[in-house]
Symmetry: D2
Subunit: 365 residues, 4 copies
Amino acid sequence: METLLYDQNVDLLHTTVKTMKALVYHGPGQKSWEDKPVPTIKVPTDAIVKIFKTTICGTDLHIMKGDVPEVTDGRIIGHEGVGVVEEVGTGVTNFKKGDHVLISCITSCGKCEYCKKGMYSHCTDGGWILGHLIDGTQAEYARIPHADNSLYPIPAGADEEALVMLSDILPTGFECGVLNGQVKPGDIVAIVGSGPIGLAALLTAQFYSPAEIIMIDMDENRLEVAKTFGATKTINSGVENVLERIKALTNGIGVDTAIEAVGVPATFELCQEIIAPGGHIANIGVHGKSVTLHLEKLWSQNVTITTRLVDTVTTPMLLKTVQSKKIQPNRLITHHFKLSDVVKAYETFGNAAKEKALKVILTNE
Amino acid sequence: METLLYDQNVDLLHTTVKTMKALVYHGPGQKSWEDKPVPTIKVPTDAIVKIFKTTICGTDLHIMKGDVPEVTDGRIIGHEGVGVVEEVGTGVTNFKKGDHVLISCITSCGKCEYCKKGMYSHCTDGGWILGHLIDGTQAEYARIPHADNSLYPIPAGADEEALVMLSDILPTGFECGVLNGQVKPGDIVAIVGSGPIGLAALLTAQFYSPAEIIMIDMDENRLEVAKTFGATKTINSGVENVLERIKALTNGIGVDTAIEAVGVPATFELCQEIIAPGGHIANIGVHGKSVTLHLEKLWSQNVTITTRLVDTVTTPMLLKTVQSKKIQPNRLITHHFKLSDVVKAYETFGNAAKEKALKVILTNE
Amino acid sequence: METLLYDQNVDLLHTTVKTMKALVYHGPGQKSWEDKPVPTIKVPTDAIVKIFKTTICGTDLHIMKGDVPEVTDGRIIGHEGVGVVEEVGTGVTNFKKGDHVLISCITSCGKCEYCKKGMYSHCTDGGWILGHLIDGTQAEYARIPHADNSLYPIPAGADEEALVMLSDILPTGFECGVLNGQVKPGDIVAIVGSGPIGLAALLTAQFYSPAEIIMIDMDENRLEVAKTFGATKTINSGVENVLERIKALTNGIGVDTAIEAVGVPATFELCQEIIAPGGHIANIGVHGKSVTLHLEKLWSQNVTITTRLVDTVTTPMLLKTVQSKKIQPNRLITHHFKLSDVVKAYETFGNAAKEKALKVILTNE
Amino acid sequence: METLLYDQNVDLLHTTVKTMKALVYHGPGQKSWEDKPVPTIKVPTDAIVKIFKTTICGTDLHIMKGDVPEVTDGRIIGHEGVGVVEEVGTGVTNFKKGDHVLISCITSCGKCEYCKKGMYSHCTDGGWILGHLIDGTQAEYARIPHADNSLYPIPAGADEEALVMLSDILPTGFECGVLNGQVKPGDIVAIVGSGPIGLAALLTAQFYSPAEIIMIDMDENRLEVAKTFGATKTINSGVENVLERIKALTNGIGVDTAIEAVGVPATFELCQEIIAPGGHIANIGVHGKSVTLHLEKLWSQNVTITTRLVDTVTTPMLLKTVQSKKIQPNRLITHHFKLSDVVKAYETFGNAAKEKALKVILTNE
């Protein structure tokens, strides 16, 4: 009897399963904007968020090329966004239906050994899973596991579009670049790579009032952008001798902090060449190959080299800096699309240099 | 004419100049215990120290092979030792004739930008100069520049022989390995290399009560020594699979801190393989070649890699730990020689494995 | 009438409700070992723990005197203990029935602003609530809210009795005294108060190898205990001039760290008198009155004064130090009772000086 | 013969001993601008600086009232200024005649235990001695002991007048208030006292991008100034209920950092009332009386209270922030006088509220 009733329910549900549109990966080079079931609560700590705005990350381009083998056919891509809570599981206490929320790219359970020490990136039941190991945010709805620790309330009156930059790019530039690089008042900082991540490091480095922020890139447009974002010097590595310029700017000593925001051997090599004794090399770049570490020179130079997958542990702090206007994250946004035009948005973002694109916003209208 | 005058002066001086015995480098493979003038005060901040006890460093072996090209023919070798102040310049205020002193391997002026931030290793008028750029301590007397900041008073009743270990080896193991490695109570630490420097790191790591200190080496004798020094586990990398052992000992996670105390690519490679997410690789080894840094794996592992030439900024702290018997540095001493037998001592120290030698003490009797 | 109805209800329940014995507070000076319903899961993040061993805290004595007005008639006392998980709510994922667990005195939700920054003591849905705002652990069973973040798994083979010391006393001495006091190798530390908390600070201070730990108390027995626990000096403040002794022991400079482990104005005053320039005063004591802060003297002394309600954020670290035998918490245990003899245990613990009692263990047999 | 010549020189000198004008303290309420001998090198580490610009400190007013008993009749007052090196002792190597220099209010020998740990304020042969224990800078010339560590080179092209603010007031606000208060991006900071020191804290707090800086004072003019200096909120404690306002501004939680910049019991009391759990109270004020510390409330609030006499260890960092225009110290300067009008300048500075005076500049023309 009870079973029967249950089956009837299932049948009833079946006829009414809600569908949505989402960007789905179908193997290298294959993606489509297609119908998918609206996600549902799977465990009590889940929340379902109706996506309001999302964006595309450089990592998403890598996924689309097939460079991230854990991402399998059928996966909804995307790990950034803001939205409205549609439904919460019974274990969610910080949020309720109707709340406006910022989605962190990193899922944190809040109760494993890593989460307890603030290293959410290595959460044993989370980390970077959205649009990677589970379905993501380039869709009309997304299921967010461990919602209490992986969503953040959006303050009333906030510029929600700007906050999309806090899902990933700003905490990445800040935690992996600026905090790990230990930027201090009066320091000389070099940021190698003036793409969105390098610019996020540039914006957040200014929280600590360094004397100089030298931006290095081969794209003149991006260097121009960097100047308007607060870079005190720019070096076009395509046409200038970077090492000579840095020496000239630092009395031959080198920079206090070198932030690597590209992810190839040549840029990491450059960081080693320009670092001052006692300096910090903070790697942000996602590297596909090993690099050469010049310990034959650096062993005696008292340098610190750090790596980090963003933990988003600073999201509350970043929210406060945005609300108090210490930083304007929307300056990173260059293009707008409807969410349904996401495939077109990928084209634009994939030709970033030509399109002068930094971050695109996709709005679910 | 001028030469003549000069020679005359020399002759005149010759009749009164005091001479001493010293170990002199005469090019690769060439050294001798020979007569040299007793050093004299050159600038007011100098002190002349009558050497009481000194030792030989692994670096001295490299010098003797010709691996350190800045060391030129005629140089007196040695950068460690204790002794008695024989004379001080007019600018020296912390010491006077008759004071028993510990000589730091690092000369610090106390007033350059680096010294002011505790990075004495890069002192613009000091750093490692003894037995390197100026004459050193394997002699009956040595001139110590910037004496007020480069000598330390020996507390009454101290075991002066033991304090020779504080000239270089203990601060090196402590600062470059333990402090940079951020060893904490309850941690799992691996030390790659159980030579004198690795053992110095082992002794000083225990200041912070890690749960495990795993010592890795190919020399079974040195591993036995490590056990008596406080290693909780030892791994003979010549006969065991280190990576498998470490995995078994750490639930597959790796170690919190890996201290590199050898200085070759293979040992630095090992450190990268065994480090846990969030862990610290602290390099002590003097590297002659570049190494491969596996950023393709480590970029997301939140690791910190440090290098350092010892600053000896912790010498006052280490003196307190020795005086309070928190550490017994004399356990590193395996052999004793008269200073006049220094050439024989080099032979023993140069065959450390066969001789089961850690540190030798040379006494100026 | 209502009573009748109530009794009927009770009778009805009686056929199924399980009862247990527990120590219940009934107003100042009134407590009894009486029947209470076995607690049940109230929210999905709860666990029910069958108490194996518990203890009495100095705070419990204060409660019994009526000094803690938030504790109301009918409350089961106690906030320490180890036990076995009897049942978990559907939201608990780290533990299951049968797991042996350590109960933290501090309840942490793991998802409020305070928990995220490691300040569990101020958890907005937890903090110190056990045996205070909700029923506690001096009972056969206890309900532990937010079990995933408030219980810790007991490693196989551990001395479970010793781990009762990790519920409160060891993290309190360690976090509020040793960590806040920034104890370093070679330091001179004074601990004012040689009761259980002061002794916990003494045990954990040794993680950092200070040169001297000077224990100050008026109870000669406790000072004798302190010596066996690692105190390098003891001062009986009842018969000696503490300030003169400290001056003599520190060349007139004072101590690097002064840990206040009593909670009265006179002991805090003493800490101010004996602190060296640049030193740290770490308050552990629960104070009932304001104290005088001598800013007219201290304003220029570069001192740091800290207060803290224990966060138990170091419990995982402490568990590792216990498992690796860097500390023997069971040395704090002087008396054993059956849990059912808890009233007698209170008498003994309440006459600690006479009974030479430190911590008592109550076993639920 | 040589002796004779020497004596003649002495005689010659004697007749020509150079005199200068200086502000001399002659007991409480007694000062005069009078002739004094130009200071000469006493020990080889001295330098004689011809004062170019100096200023008056609140402490100087206290001295003039007789509140600083160590200052005796005949003392030249003043511990701030910039000037030109006139002569250096033989032990000075960082400076030579003609160098433009910033004088630190704190003299540092660079070689005592305190200097080695960056606590120059407690230098055993220095600290605050200028215009206190030895003659100071409100004069045409000043002798600066330990010149290599107590003077700083003025960069070419710098606004020298602005740098007078770096002798004392800016490092004081920064080290004692901002650094000790651990101001972080996004924080809420309250500064109690909007005088020159409080404003120096306000300027330098902005190095770390706090969300809010709430300035509290009773002088409406100074609060107006604070707004133009970057205060985000001001509270006139003479007419508003500070506690209520702070509660309203912080959701009832309190401020992350409270900086005490007055030095009386009432303002320190206020800091205790407004501090959030986990917050920092950083005392800058020079207190003449003890204060009440509410440990009965604060013992469990995880607060940190710091005191500090400025060390000026951040002077190099501050110079970099001035040179890179991260801060405009000259905004603190409200009045200008000739050095010879110093007595008049004292009158103006002594009536700061009425004169709307912050810092005065005295120029030696």
